[in-house]
Symmetry: C2
Subunit: 301 residues, 2 copies
DNA sequence: CCGTAAGGGATAGAAAATCTAATGCCTGTT
DNA sequence: AACAGGCATTAGATTTTCTATCCCTTACGG
């Protein structure tokens, strides 16, 4: 069968642009830049030998040709979407169970998962947040992600995220009358500790050239997130780990008052029992999450 | 609008494979290799989380899921094809007029044009074959392609194809009792000349280290193709230029008895009057033909 | 029972398509 | 006049896709 079909992605771009009468908004829908849409449509027009849009300084107008072309395409794409959706209804949903700490889940995993759901709509996730390191890897858990120094005994896994450790505090604290210009200045503030990482502050001061700093006073919290919340509300200065605090820094809840950062010896490991066959779903997830973590890595550095 | 549509090219691959129940034949239809189809479909299956085919050692069987999925897609693609076709009907056809020599037209241009017609079905071509170099570039001609040593005065253009010059003859001639092992042996055979390139043979013998070879005897023809036809029918040995003889060599009508080849000083130039605005169609053609010529270059070397 | 051909799978590296980021241009608006 | 919103253009980066190979399995014919 010889059907002549123009490049499908160009058609998709056209269809979106025509619906919105705007390259910019089409680009948003398709998650690309305006330039990409512009190029796709230019290519399509060249291929067909017809102008599809009249470019006006403000927005677009479909040409006659474009108006005739659009409805068929919209219908076709809707048909594809409908077929796909009905396929997905028939299919049994697959379940993926991941266990991790509540801090990591809320600050890193849950936010990035949006993309996973989009990509694999047929997979349902069960996220088990458990903060004390569990003894057993029960049958019904596919994967575990936890802060470790190495891959645990009897497990296979990968180091998902390395960590940088740096002081963080509320932006308000910086203008509170006790400026923070060098490591010593931190001692003028209350230090916030995380019980799970009791040595963080002394390690950080050591690496900052102040091995004898008296850094044992201050508040102690049970989980990273609680400590960070304390920092956000201005209770003092905490030591943040990049996977957890990156977002809080991005959106301005926290600031990093000093340049100096410590490369953590551990990191977040993803692991599962050696000798247990991984489900397809789990493999899919591992591939995907590894990519996510690499992107994270880029944007951090 | 948020429609979830799997990668469209993967869908196209699936649709073709499902119709043919074969990756190999789908690959033929799509002009790619079997491996490409295999990968696309694998990706689609991973994305959907469903097996679409049962792979049997001999051919494929659609799974239930695949069977449910196929008809919707086929219909959608047919709809796209139909919409596109009707667009093309409405549109006025564009005309592109090219003038060139009959040899070049028949041996190089016409064969490759197939791809152009496929790509730009709305463009009609008028090909004017004229063998003596015309004085004027008349109004109704968009582009000219001719063998030249440089871009003609008053013209803009590009060097489309360089040429290699090499002896060619019928394969039968090689087994005719007068073997051709070194340049001298050619003098035992009848030489075939092209009037347009009277110096070819002496230049070739000079570059082959035989400046004094007596190469003026033999038959003379008016056009390259005629001379090549003479060679094919065993009348003697001709000097072929790569753009013209490549195909004849490929399909075995001609063979190259000696390694030694001469790089021609000229080549096929595509040109048009300076200061004449090129039509869109002509620009399209130039882009396309330049690509073609580059491919040609690769496959020659 | 082996040899061969036909069909699909895997993989690494190459090629091509696509996207981004930056910049420019135009025009209606303040 | 300065600005902002929207599209075009470009080179270079990135991602996707394809090819080339090699492998494995099965059917079939001697």
């Amino acid at each position: 069968m010889l059907r002549k079909i123009p490049p499908l992605n160009a058609l998709k771009a056209f269809e979106a642009a025509a619906r919105h009468c705007s390259f910019v908004r089409a680009a948003e829908e398709l998650n690309v830049t305006q330039a990409a849409v512009s190029q796709q449509i230019k290519q399509l027009e060249a291929r067909l030998g017809v102008e599809l849009f009249q470019r006006k300084p403000r927005g677009l107008i479909l040409t006659d040709a474009g108006q005739h072309y659009l409805p068929g395409l919209t219908q076709a794409f809707e048909m594809i979407a409908a077929s796909t959706a009905s396929l997905e209804q028939d299919r049994e949903y697959q379940l993926l169970t991941i266990r991790t700490s509540s801090s990591f889940a809320s600050q890193w995993l849950v936010p990035v998962m949006t993309d996973f759901f989009q990509r694999y709509p047929h997979i349902d996730l069960r996220l088990s947040a458990q903060d004390d390191d569990p003894r057993f890897f029960s049958e019904d858990i596919d994967l575990e992600i936890r802060h470790k120094h190495r891959c645990p005994e009897g497990m296979d896994g990968i180091l998902l995220l390395k960590e940088k450790i740096m002081p963080v505090c509320s932006p308000r604290l910086l203008h509170s009358g006790k400026p923070i210009r060098q490591p010593e200045d931190l001692l003028q503030h209350r230090l916030l500790h995380i019980n799970y990482y009791p040595e963080d502050w002394s390690a950080w001061f050591r690496s900052a050239g102040l091995p004898d700093a008296d850094c044992h006073r201050g508040f102690r919290y049970d989980q990273s997130v609680l400590t960070m919340q304390a920092a956000i509300s201005g209770q003092g200065v905490a030591l943040g780990r990049s996977p957890i605090v990156n977002n809080m820094i991005m959106n301005g809840q926290l600031v990093v008052p000093l340049e100096h950062q410590l490369l953590g010896e551990g990191g977040y490991w993803l692991y599962y029992p050696i000798n247990r066959p991984l489900s397809d779903t789990a493999c899919l997830f591992i591939d995907w999450v590894r990519q996510q973590s690499q992107q994270d890595h880029w944007s951090q550095s």
